[in-house]
């Protein structure tokens, strides 16, 4: 592309520090760990000593967590990078080289790369928990050589919470979104770069605490944390609540940045009609978090208060557990759209460039994304139709079914884009197509849970387990890996190995369906959720599911190896390997510290999906007026 060549000269000067990696750059990480652990144990021990209690009790663990979290954040570079200056101290130097990957800082690109690393690690350990669950379910009895029912309950709780809040909530929004939002909108950084930097540093201690919850007694409620079971099945619920609240805070900090950047910081000429569809998807997801997080956040803390402070919001003879369900699902139903909408938007971002067609019915697609996020606020009650009064059933059944209309617009747009195009199917596009097929099953089986009569039987059975794995694993995770492959050249300047990419795509698709499709049948046959022990008549189908699950799980090592190997030794990529018209591909790859140099800025002069032969470039680079 001509633009790239024109920019190359000037861009070379914005590379930032050229220093190579040195072990001393890990200092903030070591310091954060040291301050975090010291803070945790010191505060928990002092609290325990004052109360005449022990450090694994709920209140000492809560105080320990809060102090430990602050210690970790200060150690990570927050102190000299932000706080010290607020107290009149010296300003921290800005790190522009490799060291910025290992400390707190305002650079959205290194934050996004750290998100990918965190998500991969969290996915790996939460995936191991899934494997442990399937080992337990190999036989119908209690499988006591493997783990007890108590440990089984802790395991699926950790698996669920980590997969949702440490993986699905940030895989596409975090790793892909925070990298691409500034580049796609033609700006140098997000609107609140330090808040975005802070958001990543909240994740590791929260995830670590949740994984470590069995050490203080674990929690057996699953990822729901429903009272009053939460208050009487182990102190680990403290780490569940605090971990979930911390992860949610990180999501909200990111959401503020996405919405703010899109509203206030678009490049010249980028009207809302020209904002890339992926940014629209992120915006729709961000509004959900901003509007709905507070109710659920409060619910979690009230749940914790019942545990440690002796309040009785949800427990005791006057407690009202149904209120917790209302608060919990007010965000955590739409939360699934926070996972899914960015994935939809990725499909619609990749397909036009791959099929060399403009995005079909773009305005309907945007209406779909925003429509889902608006309707999503009104239908969380379908998660507990079995608990509510009949008056609420028809209302929330109708709302829930209505959400399939805007969701359908995504498919309308995708099919219209493919139709009559010339689709180049590389590994990323193949994964997108598979994600669309999986989500179709996930979406259509959701209608059964929206329909009250069918849901009264299917609720809390393996039907539901299959349904949400189709949407989250089958669609969101497939799309995440597709997005990592598609934008890999942007981040690393290299390409992934296409053969192994396609190989594992088929591997996933086959074993994913072998694992989760039989769960629909198990659900209809009367297998309920969250059981370590089931009746022998369900043995055969569970055996098949478990073996498929092991093969599916093992398959995830292929993309891991592919990404790591290609990062070091992959084939060098040209600046715009997919021939995309997106603005992010008009900048240098890998993206320099400052994506485009001072004195220039992009101006949008046309739609970014015009692939007609001989069509004009959608962007021109102009010299920015001096302030």
């Amino acid at each position: 592309m001509a633009t790239n060549e024109m920019q190359a000269q000037a861009l070379n000067e914005t590379e930032g520090g050229k220093t190579s990696f040195a072990i001393s750059m890990l200092f903030p990480l070591f310091r954060a760990t040291l301050w975090g652990l010291t803070g945790y144990f010191a505060a928990a021990w002092i609290t325990a000593a004052l109360l005449g209690s022990v450090i694994v009790n709920p209140l000492p663990a809560t105080v320990g967590y809060i102090v430990g979290l602050v210690g970790w954040l200060m150690g990570s570079g927050l102190w000299e990078g932000w706080i010290r200056r607020a107290f009149g101290g010296a300003e921290a130097p800005s790190y522009t080289g490799v060291e910025r990957y290992f400390r707190f800082g305002p650079d959205s690109k290194s934050t996004a790369v750290r998100y990918v690393v965190f998500n991969v690690v969290a996915f790996f350990f939460a995936g191991l928990a899934a494997m442990a669950i399937r080992v337990e379910l190999l036989t119908p009895d209690s499988t006591s050589w493997w783990m007890s029912e108590i440990h089984y309950n802790m395991t699926f709780g950790i698996h669920g919470l980590m997969m949702l809040l440490a993986v699905a909530a940030s895989v596409i929004v975090g790793g892909v979104g925070y990298y691409l939002v500034p580049l796609m909108l033609g700006v140098r950084n997000v609107v609140f770069p330090k808040l975005l930097g802070l958001s990543w540093w909240l994740l590791p201690p929260a995830a670590f605490a949740v994984f470590m919850s069995p050490t203080i007694g674990g929690f057996q409620t699953g990822w729901w944390g429903y009272p009053p079971l939460a208050q009487n099945s182990g102190s680990g619920i403290v780490f569940y609540v605090l971990g979930a609240a911390t992860l949610l805070t990180a999501s909200v900090l990111g959401a503020i940045n996405i919405a703010g950047t899109m509203v206030y910081m678009r490049a010249k000429g980028m009207s809302l009609g020209r904002v890339p569809i992926f940014v629209w998807g992120l915006f729709a997801a961000a509004t959900i978090l901003i509007v709905e997080a507070p109710a659920t956040f409060t619910g979690a803390l009230m749940d914790l208060s019942d545990m440690i402070l002796g309040s009785h919001f949800y427990t005791g003879p006057l407690g009202h557990p149904l209120a917790y369900m209302d608060q919990f699902w007010f965000l955590f139903h739409p939360e699934v759209y926070v996972f899914a909408l960015p994935a939809f938007a990725i499909w619609l971002e990749i397909l036009p460039a791959a099929a060399k067609r403009p995005l079909f019915a773009r305005n309907w697609a945007i209406a779909g994304l925003v429509g889902v996020s608006m309707l999503g606020a009104m239908l969380g009650v379908h998660h507990y139709f079995t608990a509510v009064s009949p008056a609420r059933m028809p209302i929330f059944m109708t709302f829930t079914e209505t959400v399939s209309i805007p969701t359908g617009f995504i498919y309308l747009s995708a099919i219209g884009t493919l139709w009559g195009g010339r689709l180049k199917i590389n590994a990323a596009v193949l994964l997108v197509l598979m994600a669309m097929m999986n989500f179709l099953i996930g979406g259509l089986t959701g209608i059964f849970n929206a329909d009250v009569p069918a849901d009264l039987q299917l609720h809390n059975t393996y039907w539901v387990v299959a349904h949400f794995h189709y949407t989250i694993l089958g669609a969101v995770i497939f799309t995440w890996i597709a997005a990592l492959y598609w934008w890999f050249p942007k981040v690393t300047g290299r390409k992934i190995n296409e053969f192994w990419g396609k190989f594992h795509a088929w591997w996933f698709f086959v074993f994913f369906n072998c694992t989760f499709f039989p769960m629909f049948i198990a659900g209809i046959d009367g297998m309920n959720r969250r059981v370590a022990i089931y009746l022998p008549y369900l043995h055969e189908i569970n055996l098949f599911i478990s073996i498929s699950a092991f093969l599916l799980g093992a398959g995830f090592l292929i993309p891991l190896a592919n990404l790591v190997y290609s990062w070091r030794r992959g084939e060098k990529a040209e600046p715009n390997p997919w021939g995309s018209r997106g603005l992010e591909w008009q900048m240098k790859s890998p993206t320099p510290y400052i994506p485009f140099p001072e004195g220039t800025e992009p101006e949008v002069v046309g739609p970014n999906d015009n692939y007609a032969a001989g069509s004009k470039e959608p962007f021109v680079w102009i010299s920015a007026p001096s302030k």
Partner: protein, 254 residues
């Protein structure tokens, strides 16, 4: 960079063929699945199973129509190679007949589904509850991790096995002593959460004779995570004839 011309109507005829074949295969599989449906053991289960099977016919049809279009267009409209630089001639940004058809169908199917099986099923379930003049009242007490049943009008208290007559509507009065539970007999096709500090009712009219020993779908199963003993929080069920139920009551009441 020369543009490739496609006859899109000819392509559409191919898609119609894919749809016909796909629908035939898909609906045949569903017919087979519905034929092998597990035990439907109550009037309520008939209603919920009807809703489920109806939605299945529909889901398979929609899967073939939408999924078929995706797979077909991905294969039919693929580039010849990775280095293919041909630009397709079709650069339309929208095409009203397709968009309008999609909108009408999406809204229409949604409205239809809300009415049937949604509201129709609910009205039927509610009607049974409203019309039952003299239900058999059974008090159900859930606690970690067992079920106890009492028959207040029959004078049977605190039994751990649920024995019910066939063909009579039962009003299960659900209470819990500790945490949330969920009363579910898979064969009866409905479930209800048991919530602390609240009393809930579930109306069931069993129609299939049998017991947990003859069909494991006929069992009480806690369906809401309630701690260590959750998977084993089950109770045996026996559905007997009205005469046999009378005998059972006589030998178990005070």
């Amino acid at each position: 960079m020369n543009a490739a011309k496609e006859n899109l109507w000819k392509a559409f005829r191919g898609l119609v063929l894919v749809w016909i074949v796909g629908l035939a295969i898909g609906e045949t599989l569903i017919a087979w699945g519905v034929n092998n449906w597990p035990l439907v053991g109550s009037v309520q289960a008939r209603i919920t199973a009807d809703a489920t099977t109806y939605l299945m016919w529909q889901a398979v049809a929609l899967y073939v129509l939408v999924g078929g279009a995706i797979v077909y267009s991905a294969i039919r409209f693929r580039a010849s190679s990775a280095s293919d630089a041909v630009i397709p001639e079709n650069q339309k940004r929208t095409w009203a007949p397709f968009v309008v058809t999609w909108l009408v169908l999406a809204i229409g199917i949604n409205l239809a589904n809300t009415i049937y099986p949604g509201m129709v099923g609910l009205e039927q379930l509610w009607a049974i509850q409203m019309d039952t003049k003299n239900p058999l009242v059974i008090d159900v007490t859930a606690q970690q991790w067992k079920w106890t049943f009492s028959y207040p009008k029959q004078g049977v208290t605190d039994v751990s096995q649920l024995v019910v007559p066939e063909g009579r509507t039962i009003d299960f009065v659900l209470r819990t002593k500790d945490v949330m539970h969920d009363f579910w007999v898979p064969a009866w096709g409905v479930k209800k959460d048991v919530i602390p500090n609240e009393v809930r009712h579930l109306f069931v009219t069993p129609t299939a004779l049998g017991s947990t020993a003859t069909n494991p779908m006929i069992r009480v199963q806690c369906s809401m995570i309630c701690g260590n003993g959750h998977p084993l929080m089950r109770a045996p069920v026996k559905v007997v004839t009205a005469a046999k139920f009378k005998t059972w009551v006589a030998s178990n009441s005070f």
